[in-house]
Symmetry: C2
Subunit: 411 residues, 2 copies
DNA sequence: GGGATAATATGTTGCCGCAACAAACTAATT
DNA sequence: AATTAGTTTGTTGCGGCAACATATTATCCC
């Protein structure tokens, strides 16, 4: 085990500093006195902790409040200028990079199409190029860069920064951490896309203060970020969260999953399943506007296109999403029974069609889960939708900074 | 939130005391010096902590070791005489009670058949009666009783000690904690059967030192105890672990589950599914010895009887278990993909047939899970088999004592 | 073989720095 | 004057550190 199990005074200080910083992060604006009440810490202790955070420029005072008797409180908030963060998302067919301030506000972003099958080195260099642009932008602003977060589908060894295996990319054992650290001289954090998205939702999104929730990242496959007991659950080797491969063996499709098995849940609810559903409908029904859209845009049958058709009221598109929503909801129901979460959050590329999926997900959950449990669970769309993993890349850097800020010296 | 989030010196002391006590519990016999090396604590700190544990009679010295240069080490172990513990398991059709010492060694036990459908008050009184016998036994030994653990199927509010809902018992809102505390004057701990079994396995069984594992409690239904990141995961309301109700929609059975839905995984893998499989086979094949056994013993078709037939080499019995094993393994595969656990532990009443189920569970896991993940997971039978939940009732009391031992004063 | 000495490992003692806490204080407002 | 915010000063108790006492085995020399 790597984790320290013992406690000492330094641990106490770090724990309380981190607690106060996270409280200011999530509850700002807030005064020292309020922090003392909420945490139960002594007033003097809070003052001392806040002093240290002020000195490290992680927090700043933003003036007194007004109204009410007594001395006015000096309000605090996390200093968005504490540093910039760079996040990079390696998708199955694109690369996205963003620069944000410490509060996750996007200052710069860029997205390029990419093809992982052509050449791994080329795609990595493409990513590196955009990241360097991002760093150049950051330098212009005279802000220090706290770190680079990088997300990818597949299983990741976060300690070594190595992608172990990504079935959708067909990549194995890629030492992202080493490559990007050497080239950028930044602290590099590598994480699975769904895990990172869960952290983003916890820090900046709809799951602030939520201890137990699941992020369902739906794109080419379906991955899960399991946020349990107030932190990410990674399992023995960091592979946890492969929720898409629960064997459900439903008729009629029985599609072979890219993992090699048949009957995985995700084959009934991923992007490709929707495209299949639409294709099957188009063979029978001719009234759909989808073929026309495809011809106009010189495009294949893609999720954005189907979404566009649905927006235009196309019944085949809407019904295909609805069907997939029911299949997706069946898995949601099972997960809710297993985890008794406070929230289920749907995000990732497919979530651009979230408004068409969500009602039927909720319907299927009602039908297939234990009411005592599912009544406790809110099912919502990610605040960041298809950008969930990109913001996640930012979030893993910020999250680490909120925990271990020893490297934050006086500016 | 109830949990304390801040840290102070008292917290440090409690953390380290508990850590040292648990280390001595799981690694005994062990010396102070070894504890210091394993924990990273300073030698002097360990001495101080051990002194306190000795004073509280939680630990005792058991003489020096021999061999090797240097001053011989004084070995320590947890004091089995620190107190007795009473555990009671409310099964669907039986009540089991046991008295153990602090190390979980059984000193006394008793089991009675029961029927929860006839009269709830009667079954509670029946349990209370046996518990009082157990207390009387404990008194005879001049040992203090540390507490009473009580396990039941269904969802439990552990803070209030209330059974919220047990579908198999058809019970709702039973305040076990209050009833048993009033009648016994003991500290009472109420917990779900699968959760308790997981704690038992962690403290006394095959999951010592294991941080991430699942206990699959199979009986009338299938429940799960989720032990994640080194502790029990209960979910938002303590309902987590209803792994039996993942909707899998497989043909041909589609039995209606007692939860009201169709296609729940457990309907393909629980006790009743096995009985159904045997019945279907008996209608066709006449060579089985099962009808003869039923006649001889004047018994219905039960799992112990089918197990008996299997032991005698009966093909229909063996094949029925094998089929159920495959169905069970399908769910195991999905859970392994989701959790990336170090162990999957099968226990509960049905596990008396574990030797017939396990090979096919393992086979199905190989077939239906991602190899990177399932290669990491050991699939084993509970050390306590059908008694897993009874030992679990003991374990939840011991586990609490190992954490918060403020109530242990000098004897 | 036997006695002295060295080497080694265990566990204890006394002191220190540092954490949160408590209480008394000042500060700024209605 | 009452109220609330935040600071100052001193106290308590934690684990770490380094020197020390203790108890054994290993080795050398006679």
């Amino acid at each position: 085990m790597n984790t320290k199990l013992t406690a000492d005074q330094a641990f106490v200080r770090e724990t309380n500093l981190s607690l106060v910083l996270r409280l200011i992060h999530s509850q700002a604006p807030i005064s020292r006195a309020q922090v003392a009440v909420l945490t139960g810490l002594n007033k003097s202790t809070v003052s001392s902790l806040v002093d240290e955070l002020l000195e490290k420029n992680l927090v700043h005072e933003i003036g007194s409040n007004v109204g009410g008797a007594g001395r006015p409180a000096m309000m605090l908030e996390v200093n968005a200028q504490a540093g910039n963060v760079i996040g990079a998302e390696l998708g199955v067919d694109f690369v996205s990079v963003a620069v944000t301030d410490f509060m996750g506000n996007i200052l710069w972003r860029k997205r390029e199409e990419a093809d992982p099958n052509v050449n791994q080195v080329k795609m990595i260099n493409q990513t590196l190029q955009i990241v360097k642009e991002a760093i150049a932008f950051g330098k212009k602003k005279h802000q220090r860069v706290l770190g680079l977060g990088l997300t990818t589908p597949g299983t990741v060894n976060i300690n070594e920064g190595v992608l172990i295996f990504a079935p959708n990319l067909h990549w194995r054992n890629v030492p992202f951490g080493k490559i990007f650290a050497e080239q950028t001289k930044l602290p590099v954090y590598v994480e699975n896309d769904a895990n990172a998205a869960a952290v983003a939702e916890h820090l900046f999104g709809t799951a602030r203060q939520v201890q137990d929730f699941l992020f369902v990242f739906s794109g080419v496959g379906i991955g899960g970020g399991l946020f349990l007991n107030g932190k990410l659950y990674r399992g023995k080797n960091g592979y946890a969260g492969e929720i898409g491969h629960f064997p459900i063996m439903a008729e009629p499709y029985q599609t072979v999953c890219h993992c090699g098995n048949r009957g995985c849940w995700e084959t009934y609810a991923n992007q490709y399943s929707i495209i299949q559903r639409v294709q099957a409908r188009l063979e029978v029904k001719r009234s759909s506007i989808i073929p026309k859209l495809m011809a106009e845009q010189n495009s294949g049958l893609t999720i954005p296109l189907i979404k566009q058709a649905a927006d235009a009221g196309d019944k085949e598109a809407i019904d295909s999403f609805a069907e997939a929503g029911l299949a997706m909801g069946q898995g949601f129901a099972g997960l809710i029974n297993i985890f008794n979460p406070k929230k289920m959050i749907l995000g990732g590329p497919l979530s651009i069609a979230g408004e068409y999926l969500l009602p039927n997900i909720i319907e299927a959950v009602k039908r297939h889960s234990m009411p005592e449990i599912s009544q406790q669970a809110e099912i919502v769309l990610s605040k960041f939708g298809p950008d969930a993993s990109l913001i996640g890349a930012i979030a893993i850097v910020v999250d680490d900074a909120l925990t271990r800020f020893t490297h934050f010296d006086k500016k």
